[in-house]
């Protein structure tokens, strides 16, 4: 588009050859970004003055959180375990379900255009819904508690892993697949033996990555009544019991750190 309106630059080399150089769209893009920033600043009433004057108030709550209420641990570990359960189960089921869905969405596996587009649109819409909204809807259907949280995480994982997986499948090397078809294997069998080994490492590492993120998400699902540690977080914030909030966050950070370290280890081994 841009290049249609802005004529290219011509340069003549000493030996008479003519080179045309497309004009860089950078100035236009910078201009657009600056306009975007100015509009957004207006819209959100962003005021750097306020920030400079009051930035220290941000740390009020941080100060109140220290030291954390260590004794709170006794009440904490059970909902924390719930949170981990929720995200673990949701991640496992979601990743498992993502496999057939991704197969159905991969244009090199399925011949029906309609089927492919339907599944892809389904995944896109699923990914669009913020987890909190999915969780809220789930609480209406499955009742308040960890089931709803699990369902929300399941759907999010399905959408996320599903998309990455079908992209992987579509980019997979089809040579072996072709050889297997020529050896009389069904498409789905050829997928199992030619494509799966190729996408497996990425699939597993995506699932692990997703699990990691889900623990963080699960921590706030309590806010919409989806169980886990989020409920305690909400309650402690309500009582303005920031040392308890500090303890919750501390435990959460430790958990996330552990999970991240473990999954980092596995991801390195997988790829």
């Amino acid at each position: 588009m841009y290049h249609k309106f802005v004529p290219p630059k011509r340069m003549t080399l000493p030996n008479g050859k003519i080179v045309t150089e497309k004009r860089s769209p950078a100035p236009l893009i910078i201009l657009l970004v600056v306009i975007g920033i100015i509009l957004s600043v207006r819209f959100t009433e962003f005021d750097i003055q306020v920030l400079l004057n009051h930035w220290d108030k941000f740390f009020d709550i941080v100060r109140w959180m220290i030291p954390p209420d260590w004794g709170f641990f006794t009440e904490l570990w059970r909902p924390l375990a719930d949170t981990i359960k929720m995200s673990l189960l949701g991640s496992i089921l979601g990743s498992a379900a993502a496999l057939p869905v991704a197969y159905a969405a991969a244009s090199n596996m399925i011949r029906s255009r309609i089927m492919i587009s339907l599944v892809k649109v389904f995944l896109s819409i699923l990914r669009t819904l913020p987890t909190l909204v999915t969780a809220l809807i789930a609480t209406f259907i499955f009742g308040l508690g960890t089931t709803a949280g699990t369902v929300a995480i399941f759907l999010f994982t399905l959408a996320y892993v599903g998309k990455l997986l079908y992209e992987q499948i579509e980019n997979a090397d089809m040579d072996a697949f072709e050889a297997m078809e020529s050896a009389g294997l069904k498409r789905i069998e050829a997928f199992r033996y030619a494509i799966m080994p190729q996408v497996l490492p990425v699939y597993l590492s995506t699932a692990l990555f997703c699990f990691e993120g889900n623990v963080r998400y699960a921590a706030i699902l309590g806010y919409v009544g989806a169980g886990g540690i989020g409920f305690l977080l909400q309650e402690s914030l309500g009582w303005r019991d920031y040392s308890a909030v500090g303890m919750i966050l501390f435990m959460l950070i430790v958990t996330v750190f552990l999970i991240e370290s473990i999954s980092e280890y596995f991801r390195k081994r997988l790829t």
């Binding site: 090397d173 040579d175 072996a176 020529s182 050896a183 009389g184 069904k186």
Partner: protein, 261 residues
């Protein structure tokens, strides 16, 4: 055993890749298919095991009209035809043994298909096939750690494990260095001579084609312009197959020469 009767093949984009092919291929033959790029060689080979559909005419393999087969029949039919590819088409990231084992998949019960746990007799058969190509000690090595020649031999072992009645090969040596290429060609000759399995091979290297094959098919623009014994091929015939353009023929022949030097 393979018979083409007035076979035409037009791709969905309108390209006519084969026209009025009439041909009879016999048991035990080693057929080299030569021709310029785009002449229809790959299309020809792939029509035989229905990787491509023919547009009109009849293709009869061992008395079966290939065009009439459906679903499961096609797959059963394909199992009888082994195919070897230019880029080996192995499952990377898995062992040589695993690649050979895959050829048994269609015969497995569902749970084995899913879990990928193969019965012992399959493993022995696969190891035997690898052993035939001197790859027994590489059985548990990942194929991406093998050299090109070894990879093509794993592919050959996989094809043989299928116990095919015919072997099709689409430029099996195109990505190999000269020395390895000859080793692989020797393997093909061995299979052809000792096991009496007919081989139909697309090949760009004229010299090699003439050296190994018993029969040569020259393709040009989708039709067969030469069909005869390898020893009868003359430079004039090559000129006919590869076109009038002096330069073109020249380089092709030169290449062929450089290759075997």
């Amino acid at each position: 055993m393979i018979e083409f009767r007035e076979v035409d093949k037009t791709y969905s984009n309108g390209v006519k890749a084969l026209s009025s092919i009439n041909l009879k291929l016999n048991r035990g033959e080693f057929v080299a298919v030569i021709g310029r790029s785009g002449a229809g060689k790959s299309t020809f080979i792939r029509c035989i095991n229905r990787m491509h559909e023919i547009t009109s005419g009849q293709l009869i393999v061992d008395g079966t009209n290939v065009a009439k087969l459906k679903g499961k029949q096609i797959r059963r039919f394909r199992r009888r035809i082994g195919m070897v590819f230019q880029s080996f088409n192995l499952v990377t990231r898995t062992s040589a043994l695993h690649n050979v084992l895959v050829s048994f998949v269609p015969e497995l019960p569902l749970w084995r298909k899913l879990t990928g746990i193969f019965p012992k007799h399959n493993k022995i058969a696969a190891l035997t096939a690898l052993d035939q190509f001197g790859l027994l000690d590489k059985a548990y090595v990942r194929v991406d750690q093998l050299s090109g020649g070894q990879q093509q031999r794993v592919a050959l072992a996989r094809t043989l494990a299928q116990r095919p009645d015919i072997i099709l090969a689409d430029e099996p040596i195109a990505s190999l260095d000269p020395v390895t290429a000859r080793q692989v060609m020797n393997d093909f000759r061995e299979i052809n001579e000792h096991m009496q399995i007919p081989i139909i091979m697309n090949i760009h290297h004229v010299e090699i084609a003439l050296e190994y094959a018993t029969r040569v098919l020259g393709f040009r623009d989708g039709t067969i312009v030469y069909d005869g014994a390898a020893k009868d091929v003359t430079p004039d015939i090559l000129k006919e197959i590869y076109g009038e353009m002096e330069h073109q023929t020249h380089t092709v022949l030169e290449e062929a020469h450089a290759y075997v030097s």
